[in-house]
Symmetry: C2
Subunit: 148 residues, 2 copies
DNA sequence: GATAAAGCCGAGTGAAACGGTAGGGATTAA
DNA sequence: TTAATCCCTACCGTTTCACTCGGCTTTATC
């Protein structure tokens, strides 16, 4: 039940793009530097995000990455799905429950279903826009505390 | 964000013991057979559960495993903690947040905290007793459907 | 048109975790 | 005494994770 760095880094990268939403493309190097992530690794994550239609790119010099939509319209759920393939905690929850042959007699399954629905609720209702606002607020508070 | 077999099997084993609560010890072999788990593997899980004070044992012939308390008083949270060490989805949530050096500036952390609290709520409020009742009910329904 | 900065892509790799096995020892009811 | 049971340590093959490498294409700028 651990969150992968893939999900975490990817989420942070998307928030970074959201901070510059409407300002033109941001280069991979800039995102990597700001977030302290290896460029080569981040590139892989960006590829997943691009395939999922969450980010788009412009190539050549002055090129970079941009969000395809407003940060408020991008849910954390779809972002994580793009990065990790699935957010399902087990094979027996979600669409293809047939993977687990004894799904209907497993005593843990009711728990999994409940847990999954709660998790999905949070991931679905939280948007990249919110995370971005929170982040900006937080940085302001730190700055303020530092000066006083 | 996948549930380990350790957690799943362990939970199922505890439910199995709960089904026989008050009837004396159940042997490892019996639990393993009923749940379709390798004996040697299950033994490891049982040890973790014993160390955590969730199950106790009697040795020698006719020995076996028993729950230390009523199924209703054992939460899924403590069971999973015993089996998996921790149910934290990231290092920056929970008691020792210092593991993550930039915890206070990470844009993903607020999400993690929210998610963790929702997850813990479910795991805390769900008891082994409930899972056991659900399981018995479910088996009854299947039996009923099969006969008609 | 050359150049340099950017993205695009597939393959590879070391370490750790996962899931499970093996084998022997200690305890105890019958 | 014996056989069934729990107790313990070590090991091991596979997969996943996190990350790297090297070469390619595209494009703004000089």
């Amino acid at each position: 039940m651990k969150f992968s760095t893939r999900g975490t880094y990817g989420l942070r990268a998307v928030v970074e793009l959201a901070k510059h939403y409407g300002e033109g493309p941001v280069s991979l190097a800039a995102v990597a530097a700001e977030q302290g992530i290896s460029e080569a690794y981040l590139e892989q994550l960006m590829r997943s995000l691009k395939n999922a239609g969450i980010v788009k790119t412009t190539r050549g010099k002055t090129g970079g990455y941009l969000l395809t939509r407003e940060p408020q319209s991008i849910s954390v759920l779809e972002t994580l799905r793009a990065l990790e393939g699935s957010t399902d905690i087990a094979d027996c929850v979600g669409a293809d429950a047939s993977v687990c042959e004894n799904a209907c007699t497993c005593s843990a399954r009711p728990l999994f279903l409940k847990l999954q629905s709660r998790i999905n609720a949070v991931l679905e209702e939280t948007t990249i826009g919110e995370l971005t606002e929170d982040h900006i607020e937080q940085k302001k508070r730190i700055e303020h505390a530092r000066l006083s």
